[in-house]
Structures are given as C-alpha cells and as structure tokens.
Amino acid sequence: MSSTTTKVAQAAPEPASAGTEGTRGDSAGGTEAATVPAETGDGRARPGNRAPAVDYAEYRVIPARHPWRWVGTAVVALGVAGIAWSLATNPRWEWGVVAQWFTAKSIVDGLLETLKLTAISGILGFVLGFVLALMRLSASPLLVSVSWTFSWIFRSTPLLVQMLLWYNLGYLYEKISLGIPFTDVRFFEIQTTTLISQFAAAVLGLTLNQAAYSAEIIRGGILSVDQGQLEAAAALGIPAWRRSTRIVLPQAMRAILPTAFNEIIGLVKGTSIVYVLAYSELFYTVQVIYNRTQQVLPLLLVATLWYIAITSVLSVFQYYIERHYSKGAVRTLPLTPLQKARKFLSTHALSADNSAKVTR
C-alpha cells in the first residue's frame, strides 16, 4: 500500500500490476509493462508524474486529528452517564429486589423454558420455512398453492388465536387418528388432550407461525441470487438439490440472515405469548411472582434484563455468522471488533516514532 509519491520518487517504473496479473507472459501483460517506462521516461510527462525534488519516502506520517469527534463523544458520554446515574440512584427501581429474583430458581427454570421454546420452534420453523420456500418456487402449481395457502392462513390469524385453537383442539376433535380417510382403516388413534400438552400446543403454534414468516424471508433471499448462478450450475450438470444447498442457499444467506435474526430475536420475546396457555416460561413465571409479591416493576425488570442478555448473545452470533457468509462477497473481510480494538490500541498507544510504520 505504498503511496504513489513513494513509487515515483524511487524512480522504479516496475509494473506492479504485472505481478497481480499472474505469471503469464502473454501479450496483455507485455504491453502493459512496455507502456509504463515510456510514459515516465519521455519529457512530456504531466506535472503529477514528475519525480519531486525531495524524497518523501522516509518522512514520518502523522494521522489526521478529529477534534470534533472527541467533543461529540464527550457530549454523548455525559448523557449516558446521566441516565446511568438516575437508574442507579432512583430507589423506585428497587434494584435490590431485582438482584434478589434475578437468579432465583423459578426464574431460571422459566428462562430455560423460554430458551427451549425459542430453540425448538426457531429451528423447526426455519426448516419448515425452507421447505415451504422451495415449494413456493417450484414448478408444480400444487406445491406453489399449498405453500401460498399455508403462509396466507398463518400470517392472517393472530398468534394468540392460533395458540388457543391448538390448545383446545380436543374440543373440536376428541381423538386424533392416522388412517385412510372415508374408510374404517386406522393405524393408530390417540386422545387429543393427551397428545396436545401445553408444551406441544406452544411448540406447534410458534413453529407453524414462524414457518409462515421464515418461508417468505428465505424465498426473498433465494430470489436475490442472480439467475445466472442457477444457469451455470444447471449447465454444469449439478443436480437440483445440490444447486439449492451448495450454490443458491449460501449466497441467499447474506440476504436472509439479518431478517432471520430479527425473527429469532422477535421469537425470544414472542414466546411470552404462551402465558395464555399458563405455560411457565420466563414471562409467565414473572407474572405469577409479582401477582403474589406486588413487586411488579422490579420483576418485569428481571425478565427484561434476561431478554436483553439473550438478544445480546444472539447479536454476537449474528455478527459472526454474517461474517462467515460474506466470504467471497467482499474482497477482504471487515475486521472483527476484537481485531479493530487491537488495531486501535496499536495505532494510538504506541509512541510517535512507531506510528509511521504502523500506518503504512
């Protein structure tokens, strides 16, 4: 990354581009190499190209200063400090109560239930969503309409209603059986109320709803991949399934991931809706406790802090997963926060003598 000034000063008309072009001594590379000295060698060279009298190569580079950035930072820091101070000193937040309940067994149990629901319905929802997206994009009119209808139904009914319907399925159908319709053949039969527990109703409701939304997200991602990619894969004889999973999906991931993480983070908090089934996940647990102790705000804070914690962890995952899928999409991967911090320290903390070398 040496500057152009340096190169001219060293009077080295070396064709740097020939190196990057590969080692082939073909005509293209040859002409390029030939033109460079001609340009700098003749007397008509433009002023910008003329070698300066002073050799700047050994000069120390001082990075540009940004005083207003520091002013802005100070203002923002002051505001943040003010908010933090009020949070810490206003006794009505009742941090003591928050601390007391934060890791209480019932709360942690509820938290684990929340995580379990999120993981199961998130994974199942996205797997089903992927299948629905492929169906929607398939050539079969039947598959297309089945997929469309699925999304239509589950996106048009409130999740709350879906939950209650699943939980009360036993009221509509006393028994569930697998067999051949319109005959007496039954492979097995089960009481609906035995099959649909609170947990099953919660997972069923969340999964199907999630699938309807993620199908659209995944479809959008797939549509964002250039048609030429599919053509090239087809022309190479790569089978359809492999085209989807190896060629299209990894490229679609770049468009899918940000929205998908939105959905997952929404789902973490969305699981709180299963309180209507009296399912003791985090939010329901908190409600039960504050109904008893009347410490409403502190307990809501406990739940909030846990939701923030989960979301934060997910955001870190999101960052690294997105980074993984940006492979090949950018020429050089952006630095991770850790690498950035290291670079910042090395450029700002070192003595001035070294700073020139570091910035080069």
Partner: protein
C-alpha cells in the same frame, strides 16, 4: 503460455458432432429462432456472428437445453438433446437425464457466472464430484481437486487457486470459468460472448486460452463480436440476423467475399474497428 500447449486429453474422433435441425423458438410473440439448421463437425470450430438480438445466444442455449426448443431438434452425436425417441414419439427427458447430457457440453457465459462464495479451485472442482455422468464414475473430492489444479494450471491460474472470484480480474475470472467448463471433459464447448464483459486489455488472455482449445479436438461453438479472433480461429463462420442464418462458410468466404448484402452491410460496420487492434 507454454502450460496451455501441453497436451489436452485426446477426445475420441467421432465425438462432438452437433446437428441443429429446423430449430424454432419464441419468447411470447417474438420469434427469435426461425428454423435454424446447422451442423458442426466433431472437433470443428464454429463462430456465430451477427447483430444484437439476432438469436445467437438463444441458439447456443438450445444446444445444452437451457432453452427448450418450440420446433425442430438438436442432436449430439446422433442423440437428441432433451428428448428420448420411443417408436414414433418423443418423450421429454427427466431433469436427471438432461443433466447427464449436459455434462458432455461445457458452457462459458458472458458474465462468467462463477460461484462467488467458492474459491477458484472450488468452482472448478464442484461439478465433477456431484454431476451424474454417463459412462464415467464421479470423481472423489481429492481427485477433483487435483484435476481442478491441473485445469487452473492450463489456463495459467494455478497460483490463484485459493482466490475468490471477486479477488480476480475479469479476464482471470473468465479463464477460471473456462477451466470449470473443462472439468467434466466435455466433447463440446459453448462460448456465449466470452469477452464482451471484459476490458479491452483483458480480452486477449481469454482469447488465447480459447485458441489453444480450438486445436484440442473439442468441438467449439462460439458466439462473439471479436471479428479478428473469429477469422483466426474458426473453420466455419455463421452469420445470423433476425433469427435466421443469413450465410455460412469459411472465414475467407464470409469476411472477404460475403454473398449476401445483409452480411456485407453488417461487416462494413463492425470489421474496421475490430481489425485496427
């Protein structure tokens, strides 16, 4: 350049005959191919030239069944592309069998269409591992890598095997794409304007690779606007306009003594700048 000259595996002598018979194709109301008949002999090099929208690319894409024909048929070494003859009926082939046919036909696209999330080597080594091939076993991953490196070496890019397409210049990308098309040892190679998306100074590195292939015994069908290259490399030049073949013949005939007025007027517009290079 010497790497390119190393022997390319000898393809059988009777492989790679392309017969296009009365092929018709419409997109909506527009008929883009109006009954094209063309034969390219095994090992032959046919260059298709003509104005934009004359149906050149569409014709090329019917050869590997990326476009289904509306009428007529395409046959490779006597076997119909995309259909199976049973008695007096034609049965459309299932996807899997179409894929099998395609592995005998390599294609190079105007926009390269390299897989951007895979390295140069992974691009080249992907198809031999997964594509169904008639008569030949699939390669293992290790074999495909080795073969991929050989092919990248042949196009002069062995040292860039680990680079992603976006880290390569246009000419390098197209050379990787050619290596990728060669990975299945096709008997026919289709080039759809392989240099149209390239900066002028990168065109030659791609044309040089194609020139080498022209002597390898593989049948080449090339759509291009590079008239000088066409004259060099072709044994047949086909001039198309408005969905029809206006005339075809040796480069000498077509470029210096065109019979048709349409051909003359086209070349009078395109040839001069092309030959000034």
């Amino acid at each position: 350049m010497s790497t390119l000259a190393t022997e390319i595996p000898a393809t059988g002598t009777t492989r790679g005959l392309v017969e296009i018979t009365k092929v018709r194709k419409s997109f909506g109301a527009a008929e883009v191919l109006k009954g094209i008949t063309l034969t390219v002999e095994p090992g032959g090099v046919a260059v298709i030239v003509g104005p934009s929208g004359s149906g050149k690319s569409t014709l090329l894409r019917t050869i590997n069944h990326l476009e289904k024909v509306d009428g007529g048929f395409v046959a490779i070494d006597g076997t119909l592309v995309g259909y199976e003859v049973r008695g007096s009926t034609l049965h459309e082939l299932r996807e899997r069998d179409v894929l099998k046919q395609r592995t005998g036909i390599g294609m190079v696209f105007q926009n390269f269409n390299l897989f951007p999330h895979l390295t140069a080597l992974e691009n080249v080594a992907e198809a031999p591992v997964v594509a169904p091939r008639s008569g030949k076993p699939r390669l293992t991953k290790a074999e495909a890598r080795e073969r991929g490196l050989e092919l990248l070496d042949r196009v002069g890019l062995k040292d860039r095997a680990g680079a992603y397409p976006r880290q390569l210049s246009g000419g390098q990308q197209q050379r990787v794409a050619i290596a990728r098309a060669l990975a299945l040892d096709p008997k026919i190679l289709l080039f759809d304007e392989p240099t149209s998306a390239l900066d002028p100074e990168l065109v030659n590195e791609v044309l040089d690779v194609i020139r080498e292939l022209a002597t390898s015994g593989t049948t080449l069908i090339i759509v291009t606007h590079e008239m000088g290259f066409a004259r060099d490399v072709a044994d047949t030049v086909v001039f198309m306009d408005e969905g029809q073949i206006v005339e075809q013949g040796s480069p000498q005939d077509i470029f210096t003594n065109p019979r048709e007025a349409r051909t003359r007027s086209f070349f009078s517009k395109v040839i001069e700048p092309a030959f000034n290079i």
